[in-house]
Amino acid sequence: MSKNQVSRRQFLSYTLTGVGGFMAAGMLMPMVRFAVDPVLQAKAESDFIPTPQKVSEITEVPTRVDFKFEQQDAWYTSEVTGTAWVYLDDKGEIVALSPVCKHLGCVVDWNTDKANPDKFYCPCHGGLYTKDGTNVPGTPPVAPLDVYPYKEKDGFLYLGKAKPKKEA
């Protein structure tokens, strides 16, 4: 038997403190967790969506780039395919245009109308846009095509949410 015996009183108080401490921690931890949760939340890779397009392979001719993302319609989440027309402009900068016609929302195509080469053409009502997305006056659309903000990551092109083009 050792000299400094633990008295019954001491033993009980140690045990109670220990157990009480665990219980308090058990109650407090989730609360703290809730409080700091927004900070811990992983930043959703901003809103940029990866595309299969390699940045090094973008040319001066607008190319169609399809990418997939999740879209929520009320309670129903579905995978949607988005499209962008991507090319390099005169300065060698990447331009990614939304293919949605600003008139009534059809999908425009590059260089498909024989009478108007090198233009974006809307098959629905003959809307025309020049290569930089500006609407050609005299055709139904009243605004230039939307522009996607873009990012380069690991050699691939990432696209954000299409925004109306700023007035030049």
């Binding site: 995978e79 016609c101 059809c106 629905c124």
Partner: protein
């Protein structure tokens, strides 16, 4: 444009630009050929949704006309003519029926609108990627058909 309030608002504002109505014909059958009817319905629904995405500014995609496949074709034809009349009398120049059900082929020439029959593809056994590319090909062909129709009318 789809048959929902937002799109219909747009439709009412720009009626003069929307001259094409698409009505998917969706068969339902419980007693026999149930699965076949279901896959026809799925195929045509997917196809018409894709089509609407491409041409949303010029066509109105109506909610499908679903019918009991075992009903006599004359009765169904009568119903379809009601749709057709409603659409043609209210400003639509082109009315297209989209179907996989070959029964309609027999009565095609009694319709004023155009019946487009597409053989339904077995989408069930495909993974999503193949399925999408396959649908896309089909939609491309359909789009050409629409473009030709519009060009000959303009």
């Amino acid at each position: 444009m789809k048959w929902n309030p937002q799109d219909i608002d747009m439709f009412l504002q720009s009626k003069e630009y929307v001259d094409t109505a698409v009505l998917p014909l969706l068969p339902v059958a419980i007693s026999k050929d149930t699965k076949q009817a279901a896959s026809m319905t799925e195929f045509i629904s997917l196809l018409s949704m894709q089509l609407e995405r491409q041409f949303r500014g010029r066509l109105l995609l109506l909610p499908g006309y679903s019918y009991i496949k075992t009903e006599s074709i004359d009765k169904l034809l009568g119903d379809l003519k009601v749709w057709e009349r409603e659409l043609l009398e209210n400003g639509f120049k082109h009315v297209l029926f989209l179907t996989s059900d070959s029964n309609w082929k027999a009565v095609e020439n009694q319709l004023e609108g155009e019946l487009i029959w597409m053989p339904s593809l077995p989408l069930v056994h495909m993974d999503e990627k193949n399925r999408n590319s396959l649908l896309e090909d089909q939609v491309k062909q359909l789009m050409n058909l629409f473009l030709q129709k519009w060009q000959s009318a303009d």
